[in-house]
């Protein structure tokens, strides 16, 4: 019996790596300074955000250029509710996710009628409309000043979230829960159907699938998870401005997904980590950090078409090509 368990353990190296990485994430706050902890918290929040976009780019085949909209709208909802006196974390979390999901369903009814480059352009247009709205509607959003001074939430627990370590663990719990839930989703019949849409929408229709409904479900799910990231982000930074709704933010999330490896869930988290760490490290030496990001992107396009994770999986699998973004 013991022997079987041992063999099973070695036959599932993935479980080992998953366990090890989770353990490292749990123990990290014990051996890291406050700057490192803050960066790691940011990586986990953007990891959630990048995973949510991966559902669209990697699994559904929809390159959406307004993902920051759902992130920012949820963050604004939290900020505005905070200004209205809502301090309870769970209520603001629910509200943030609900608003971004509802907005995704409304927008999805329009944008999902197009595909390919047209889809990309129309999502970009809607994203910029909402960015402009946040910029102009000063009485609600604070305009370009944004909404500052949002303090850490009250969870109704004996632990204070003002403590960065406690807040890190809160983010970590949501990160692991999101990873698990999205992993379950992509391996569910619904997740498989969404991959079918990525592979061939006309074939899926010929097989009796309501592809529009599937795309709308994926779009709403991605927006909901993005909304979760938005709520955590605004509590983390204590500030939200229109820049979080801008196309540059949407572009950054797309880069995280593509550099990390679309269609893998974990890849975009690696992408988020690489981009944020590089951005923080290089920007402390030079203002020209986007130049290095550009070089990284070019290297990925030339040598790692399936992203960093795809590249390493290919190495470990002895040259067997790993499939990422419906390549």
């Amino acid at each position: 019996m013991k022997l079987t368990e041992k063999i099973d353990f070695y036959q599932k190296p993935r479980d080992f790596w998953r366990g090890l990485i989770t353990l490292i994430l749990i123990l990290t706050p014990l051996g890291i300074n406050s700057y490192g902890l803050s960066l790691l918290t940011q990586v986990l929040i953007f990891g959630i955000l990048a995973m949510s976009l991966d559902i669209l780019i990697g699994y559904t085949g929809l390159v959406s250029f307004n993902h920051a909209t759902f992130f920012g709208v949820s963050a604004y909802t939290t900020g505005i509710l905070f200004y209205c006196g809502w301090k309870n974390f769970w209520l603001t979390l629910g509200a943030g996710i609900a608003v971004s999901t509802a907005l995704a369903i409304l927008l999805g009814l329009v944008v999902l009628r197009s595909s390919g480059p047209y889809f990309l352009m129309i999502t970009l247009a809607f994203g910029q409309m909402i960015f402009a709205l946040a910029w102009r509607w000063r009485s609600l959003t604070g305009g370009d000043d944004g909404l500052p001074g949002i303090s850490r939430p009250d969870l109704g627990l004996p632990v204070s979230m003002e403590n960065n370590i406690s807040f890190y663990y809160l983010v970590l719990v949501f990160f692991l829960a999101t990873l698990f839930a999205l992993w379950k989703f992509v391996h569910s019949p619904l997740g498989m159907s969404v991959v079918g849409v990525r592979e061939s929408e006309s074939r899926m229709q010929a097989l009796g699938y309501n592809t529009f409904g599937l795309k709308l479900a994926a779009y709403a799910l991605a927006a909901a998870v993005s909304g979760l990231a938005g709520v955590l982000y605004v509590y983390f930074t204590g500030f939200i401005s229109p820049q979080e709704l801008n196309w540059t933010m949407s572009g950054l999330i797309i880069l995280m997904v593509i550099i990390g490896g679309a269609g893998t869930l974990v890849g975009p988290v690696i992408g988020a980590a690489v981009i944020l760490v590089l951005q923080n490290l290089i920007s402390s030496y030079t203002d020209r950090w986007p130049l290095f990001m550009g070089i990284l992107f070019i290297l990925c396009v030339m040598y790692a078409r399936n992203g960093i994770l795809g590249y390493f999986l290919k190495l470990f699998k002895g040259g067997k090509n790993h499939e990422g973004i419906g390549s």
């Binding site: 991959v195 061939s200 074939r203 229709q205 010929a206 009796g208």
Partner: protein
């Protein structure tokens, strides 16, 4: 009740009339071939029947139900399935996952395995479809249309681009279908057409030029001239 009834449909792409007041009716269980030169409107006709494109005018009935305004997936749910002229498969997924998707995933995992075993492709179940040979991919194209036990199948050039041996395999697969299934096939290979079809419809410039049995089509002078060549011996 007819398996398929197309009434007076017209389809234009810009200024080009691809289908011109075309009417067609196919009896249940029939094997109907649709032939015609390239550009005759055969695939457009299939696309309008399956709902991938909407006709500008006219009506389409499947087993007596008016489906003209129904979407493609609604029509599929009525028992209509099709294959595509160019392989339209889930290329990055395994063969087994392709069949599972066609079975709407959650029904019975064993059913997909049994189905592949029945059609002799079980040993290839874990191979990604893009890694299968072209001939095998054409078979998968047919299997995806078959696995849902359709009542009406539209096959768009199922033997295009494959060897004679592979073509015979696919022809045998179609011949082996139960008679409850109505089959409409677009095909350029006249050997396949004459082997399979009860009746043949000849399409030219978006209109029906002639309709009859294989023997009648072979000898019809206008068909010979336009499609089979004046000698009536050569293919397109």
């Amino acid at each position: 009740m007819k398996a398929l009834e197309v009434k007076d449909i017209t389809k234009k792409y810009g200024g080009l009339k691809v289908l011109r007041h075309l009417s067609l009716s196919v009896a249940p269980g029939e094997r109907r071939a649709i032939i015609g030169p390239n550009g005759a409107g055969k695939t457009t006709l299939f696309n309008t029947i399956t709902g991938l494109s909407k006709p500008d005018s006219g009506k389409i009935y499947i087993f007596g139900k008016n489906v003209t305004r129904l979407s493609a997936y609604h029509r599929a749910r009525l028992g209509l399935s099709r294959t595509f002229q160019r392989n339209n498969l889930f290329f990055n997924l395994t063969l087994l996952d392709n069949i599972n998707l066609a079975l709407h995933v959650n029904r019975s995992p064993q059913k997909a395995r049994d189905f592949l075993q029945h059609w002799g492709l079980y040993h290839r179940k874990n191979v990604k479809v893009k890694e299968l040979s072209y001939g095998e991919q054409r078979q998968v194209e047919l299997l995806l249309a078959l696995v849902q036990s359709p009542r009406l199948m539209l096959l768009d050039e199922p033997t295009a681009g494959i060897s004679q041996g592979e073509s015979r395999v696919i022809t045998r697969m179609i011949q082996g279908l139960p008679r409850e299934v109505t089959v409409i096939i677009i095909e350029h290979d006249m050997e396949v057409v004459f082997n399979l079809a009860d009746r043949i419809t000849v399409l030219n410039r978006g209109q029906i030029l002639y309709e009859g049995t294989a023997a009648e089509v072979r000898t019809h002078p206008a068909v010979k001239e336009i499609y089979l060549g004046s000698a009536g011996e050569e293919g397109p």
